[in-house]
Symmetry: none
Subunit: 200 residues, 4 copies
């Protein structure tokens, strides 16, 4: 009974994963203009099934975006244990960029504004990124006038351009990430104007 109950649910769970994967790809391609119909088609389910799993298109976006925040937060959490603070920050950026390659968090986040679950995930990611930055700064690895918010924002921005150039130079963001990182070095850093807000 438990088994059958579980297997029933596992079908549903499978659809949920298919839907999230499909949504990920469709949102990556078309942003919020991705249609529920396309997502359903890609997942191989009927349109109605989408709404069984996610009450609203916005909720679907929130889950997708929230998932990224959680996942990035986990990466940051692990790297906070690293013995090499500066290297940890660099690795965080690399891993994060790799992971975000197909998503434009900055863009999709706009839709999610106000969803408390997503906000929470984001805040945690934020806190951890700030911690990573703090440690790198204390170690003298990066300039002291930069914040975690700056870095996350730039990171998202860089990744944003990926989708548009896939066929040509899908890896250009790697170059740009290094330029960014070089811009974070403390030696000879130019002074920055006004602070960035704490929100991502």
């Amino acid at each position: 009974m438990t088994l059958s109950a579980r297997s029933l649910r596992s079908d549903a769970a499978r659809n949920r994963e298919l839907l999230l994967a499909a949504a990920e790809e469709e949102f990556a391609k078309r942003g919020m203009d991705a249609s529920i119909a396309d997502i359903a088609r890609r997942a191989g389910v009927a349109k109605g099934t989408v709404f069984r799993h996610f009450a609203t298109k916005e909720e679907l976006v929130a889950v997708v975006v929230g998932g990224h925040f959680v996942s990035l937060g986990a990466v940051a959490g692990e790297l906070l244990e690293s013995a090499d603070p500066t290297g940890a920050l660099l690795e965080f950026l690399a891993v994060a960029a790799e992971q975000l390659q197909h998503q434009d968090l900055v863009f999709l986040q706009a839709v999610t504004e106000g969803d408390s679950t997503v906000t929470e995930c984001r805040n945690q990611l934020h806190a951890r990124t700030n911690a990573l930055v703090d440690r790198a700064q204390e170690a003298g690895g990066i300039r002291s006038d930069v914040t975690g918010s700056d870095i996350l924002l730039i990171l998202c921005a860089l990744v944003h351009t990926v989708g548009l150039r896939t066929e040509q130079t899908p890896d250009s963001w790697r170059r740009h990430l290094i330029i960014l990182f070089d811009g974070l070095r403390p030696q000879g850093a130019s002074p920055l104007p006004g602070p960035v807000s704490e929100r991502l």
Copy 2:
């Protein structure tokens, strides 16, 4: 008749400008989701008039985006005369960012893919940016492994985030631009992987 023909033409020209200005503002606010109806309303003309001037919404976008390319190209052209190559590049970035503040070229460009006029404008902008970069590199002002494409792309990416954070820290891109520029310094630059394509 010549008179009336001319006045008609000047009326039409005026409408065209009104429409472009309105489109600029609406696209800035809502991206491609801006509706023709809203643009027409803001321009003070009827919906049908939009299509008399621009066969398609995409064409309207193309003209707006193309306008930005031309305008940025002009800025780059002037700065190519500057006696201070490195300063010229920095200034170009600052002016471009300022100008793009309300437009997301990278985003809107996707729609324009394939429009030959826009491509041409973009190529010119590209060529001039490359020239600016070359001169700065020759002067030893910036690292030698970076291209004009890299810089334009990063610039657009940074500006992309502006719209979403208007109320909080509308100027965060200024901070990020400086970080970018610091990342361009030749001293101790980390090696970059593979080249970026020539296309913007």
Copy 3:
């Protein structure tokens, strides 16, 4: 086995009652717009269970409506024994109105058109109401040109308005019922045009 079979059956019977009660309330609140999902939720069962008991939403409506017919028919049956024919009719109307207060039979019946069970129940109610009317007419209590159909129809109509005015004057139908009854008096009654059909 008998035991478990029986317990299953009584569970099913219980669910059936729960569903009918839930349907009654939901239909009262939202008419035919009440959703199966809401009814199931209110009854505390799964959606699928609704369809095990009632093949169709229409069938569920038919059973609910039929139940009212049966119940009203029973009331009429009892009152046929009364020693005061005119008082019996008045009481019938009062009791019926009270009972229908939350249901719009005339409305819901439209959906039931053609269901033979409901038709049967309705015919019985009809017959008994006609009998009540006949007796009252013989006793000289009400005008002779009115039929049971007239009265049932008017009754349903009056009750129909109840739902819409709940907060304001939930009892206005009591006033209207009396006006109706006064209209039934034989003294000085105006002649009525053409007969009403026998169907409710």
Copy 4:
């Protein structure tokens, strides 16, 4: 020019009338469940055209319902000039019932709750009906404990049943109207409980 402008508008005006007529019929048949698609089809226009004329389904309902209020109000207004107050009230009821034959105002009004234009129309109708009733009462033609609200409500209720019985006895409401009117006679009227609200 005025001519052409007007003819353009007259096409639109024609569609508007076609739509209102179609809406009238569809709402009569299915109440609020009438679909925009059906209304458009019946009017012979595309779905989108409905929304050009009426921003919302509710607005369409409001216009239809409001139209009835206005029209009934006009009838009442004329009859207020009559030399025979009691006859005027009877005629008002007859004309109103005739006109409402295919509409269930009480039902559709629920949707319109809160629309200020409709409310205004309804209030005027209300005021005039009250005036008709007052005059009939002063003339001793009808019982003194009844209000215009009572009468309108009953009238709508009676008419409500029409639609459901079209094929059988479409005119049964004529019978019921007379019964209602007989119930309004002052002689031997039974006392009515609590007052009805002023709102229709």
